[in-house]
Symmetry: C2
Subunit: 516 residues, 2 copies
Amino acid sequence: MNGAESLVRTLLNGGVNTCFMNPGTSEMHFVSALDDYPEMRSILCLFEGVVSGAADGYTRLAEKPAASLLHLGPGLGNGIANLHNAKKAYSPIVNIVGQHSTKHLKYDAPLTADIEGLAWPVSNWVKTSENSISIASDGAAAIAASMGPPGGVATLILPANTAWGEADGPAETVPSIIPESVPADRITEIANLIRQNKNTVLLIGDRVMGDEKLGVQVSKIANAYGVRMMSSWYAAKVRRGAGMPMYERLQYAVDKSLKMLAGTQHIIRIGARDPIAFFAYPNKPSRFAPPNCEDHILVDLHEDIPAAIEALLEELEAGDTEPILAPSKPAKLPQGDLDPDSVWMAITALMPENSIVSDESVTASRMAGPITQSARPHDWLHVTGGSIGQGLPVATGAAIAAPDRQVFAMEADGSAMYTLQALWTQARESLNVVNVIFNNQSYKILEIERKALCAKESGPQSDPMLSIGNPELNFVDLAKGMGVPAKRVNSSESFVKELQRGIDEPGPYLIEAMIS
Amino acid sequence: MNGAESLVRTLLNGGVNTCFMNPGTSEMHFVSALDDYPEMRSILCLFEGVVSGAADGYTRLAEKPAASLLHLGPGLGNGIANLHNAKKAYSPIVNIVGQHSTKHLKYDAPLTADIEGLAWPVSNWVKTSENSISIASDGAAAIAASMGPPGGVATLILPANTAWGEADGPAETVPSIIPESVPADRITEIANLIRQNKNTVLLIGDRVMGDEKLGVQVSKIANAYGVRMMSSWYAAKVRRGAGMPMYERLQYAVDKSLKMLAGTQHIIRIGARDPIAFFAYPNKPSRFAPPNCEDHILVDLHEDIPAAIEALLEELEAGDTEPILAPSKPAKLPQGDLDPDSVWMAITALMPENSIVSDESVTASRMAGPITQSARPHDWLHVTGGSIGQGLPVATGAAIAAPDRQVFAMEADGSAMYTLQALWTQARESLNVVNVIFNNQSYKILEIERKALCAKESGPQSDPMLSIGNPELNFVDLAKGMGVPAKRVNSSESFVKELQRGIDEPGPYLIEAMIS
C-alpha cells in the first residue's frame, strides 16, 4: 500500500467519506487510490473556490468533517476565499493540498510556492507530511484538528513522494478534544446577573443558532427573566422558521446595531464573539456594545456549550417557562412587479419543510429575515467571513450532505459570478438546488457603501466600477452552458411558477429574477 | 486631498495609468478618488483572478507596471493563482489590497485576515501603509519595487483610514534600480568557453525570448561558433514567427528534455534559470542538465542582460554572422476533421502580423510550436507559473495594452473554466480577442500524468475525476451569457470561417473547437 492509499483509508476510518476535489498531477496517486474505495464519495469541481465552499456547506449540514483536495499553491490560492469563510464558520475541513515531491522542492519549478505560508491565514492547523509512512498518522491528526472545538480548517500538505512511497497502512483514529466544562461558579455568577439585571442581552453564537433545542433553552431563560435574546448578523447555520426559537438579529448597518444595543448594561455571550461591525467607518465605533456595557462570557467556543446552557437553565429554574417561538402565518403568494420582497414571499410560501437556504443575496436580502421568519422550519446558511462567492458552492455541498432536503441558493448577480462553476457540479451530481439569481446589474452594496463612506452618490469614473450591467449578464445562458436548466422572470407570477417547477423537478434549476 | 487621491496621483506620476480592479467597501475611497483622474484607466473584472491575470498580461505587452486593486484577504486570495504566474513571469505589478482601518483591525471582524501572510508567497515586496501621509511614498516605493530587476509583484496594503485620512500630496517617483553590469572578466571567460567547446548550449531566458534584437544577437553567436541555442519550455513573452530568431525549446516531458540535453558539457545561462522539470516523477531526475554538465551564468536576472549580450557578441566578433531565423513557409488552410493541429494550421495561415497569442491550450498545444513557427511575426505568452486560469485574463490584459494588435486566447476547456469571467471584461472593453476553446471534455493532461505516475490508464473512481464531459460544457452559451458572440465548430472548414470572422469583426469572439 502506498501513502495515498493509507491516507484514503485513514480518512474513511475517521468517518470522512466525502472529498471535494480539483486535482492535478501531484495528486494523481491520491486520485488513483480512490479506485479501490468506492465508499469515499469523490466530487469533482471545476474550480477550487467551489471545492472549498462545497466542503464548507457539506460540513455545516453533515456535522462531520469534509475532505478537500487541491493542487499545490495556486490551487490552494483559489480555495482561500471560501476557506476563509469556512474558518469563520468553524467548519471542520481536512484540506489536503498536493505538493512537489520533497526532492523536487529545492529546485524552483514553476509551480513551487510557499504552501504553508498560504495555508496558515485560513487554517487552524497546518502540516507538511514528511514521508509516506507518516502521511496516515498526519491524516488522523488532521481529522482531529479539524474538529476543534471549535472546528476549523486543518491543512495537510501532501508531497507527491509521500503519496507514491510505501506505507505501513492506515493510522488509528485520533480522539478529538472533549470540550472543557464551564466551572459551576461561572454558571452561578451569570445566573445572578440575569436575575438582577433587566438590561441584559443573551448573545448566542453559531452553535446555539444551529440547534433548535439549545435555542429553545436560551429562549426559556430570556422569557423567564425578561431579558433579550440576540444573535450576531451571520452564522454558519441558523435553525429558524415557524415554531423555532425567535430572537433579535444584529444588523449589518452600524447605526441600526448600535440602536438595538443602546442602553444594554450586560451582554452575556453564549458561544458568541464580541459583536463587531463588518467594516469600519470614519467616526463610527467598531464595537456594537455601548461603552459602559459589561461583557460576560457564559461559555466560550472551545467549551461545552450544551452543558453550560443546561446548567444555567437548571440554576435559573426556567425549564418550564415557555420559549418565544416564531409564529406560523398564512403565506401569501406575491403578485405583480417582481422585487426582492416578492421573491422572499414566494420562497416563504413554497419552501418545503426542512429546506436549506444558502444566502448570498447581499442587498436583496434586506427583508429576507422578517419575511421568511414564518416559513416552514428550515436551516439558513450565512456568509460567515464576508468572502464573496460562497453561496452557490455552499448550497452545492449542503445538497450533497442532505440529499432529501430542498436547497435554495439565493444569490446576488455580482456574487454569483465569483464561483458560478458550482452549477456544473450541481448538474453533474443531480442536486436538488434551486438557484435564484437577483439580477439588478450592479454592485448595489458598493453604491450604498460609497455613499456611507465618501458621501457621494455618483462619479464619472467610479460609477462604472460599481455597475455590472454593461454588457448585461444572462444567467440563463450561463446556466445552460453548464447543464442547468434555467428561466429568466420579470413578474411575481412567473417567479412563483418557476419556483414551483424548480422544487417539483429533480436536479438543479436556476431562476434569474430581474429586479431593479 | 485624502490618502487615496495622493496614491492615485503618485501612480500616475510614476507612469502607472492602468488599474484592473474588483473593489469592495474598504477600497471605496480609492475608487472615488478616480473620479478626478480620467487619465487612470480603470478596468472592472468580475473576479479577482481576472484582475491579477489581466494585470500580468498588460505588463507583458506594455512593458511597464500595471496596478491591480483587490478587496481584503479573500480578494487577494482569489488573485493569488495568477499573481503566482505573474511573479514567475517577472511582471511588474503594483498590487493594491484594501484592508480594514487600523483601529478596526484589532477586532476579529468577519473579513479580517492576515493579508501580509497571504501576499508574501506571491510578492517580492509587501508593505502595509501606516497612515494617510505615508501611503503616497509607499506607493512610489511599490512602483520601484515592482520593476526589479527582475520585475515582480509589489503588494501595497491600504488600510481604509490611510485612504480616507488627510494626505500631503503625491510622492516623488522613486528611481528604479539600475541593473548591475556584468564584469568584463566574466564575458571573457564565457567567450573562451564558447570558442573551445562545441557541446555547449546557450540557454536564453524570458528577457531574450521577448526581444527580437537580443534573440538575433545570441543566434549570431550560436551560429558563428556552432553551439546550440535553447530556451526553457515557457516564458512570459516570446517573439517568434517567420524571420524571427529560431532556437530549440525544452519540453514539458522529462524524457524529451533529457534527450535534448544529452551530451551537453556546458550550459551557459543568459538571463535564464536552471532548467527544471515541471513535476517530479519517481525515478526521473528533476534537473534536465546531464549530471556532468557544467552550469555557467553569463548574465543573471538582476544584471544588465542587453549589455552582457552586446559585450559577448563583440568579444566573439560575431556581429556580422548571419543569425538563424525561422523561415517563412506558404501557409496551408486545414481541411476535413477538426483536431488541434488543424486549429494551429488555421491560426498560422490567418494570424495578422504582430498578433499576440495567449496560450493555455495544454495538451492541444503539442504541435503548436512547430506549426506556428512560420507564421507572421507575433508574440507568444506562456503560462509561466503553472497556475491554471491564466490564458483568458492574460489575453484580456494584453489586448488593453496593445489595442491595435489581434489577440488570440488559445484555451483548453478545463482551463477556461477557472477564470471564464474574463470574457465579460473583453466584451465590456470591446477588446480584439479571438478566444479559441479546445473542447475535448476532459482533463486530458491528467490522463497522461496518471499513466506516467501510476502506470494505469483507467479506474472506476478516478476516471470521473479526470473527465469533464458530464454534463457537457457549452462554451457558446457561456460566452453569450457574458456578452461575447460565439460559435461551436466541428470541421476545419468551419473553424477557418469563424476564425476569419473573429479577426475581421471588432470586439471579442469565441470559437468552441470540438476535438476529441
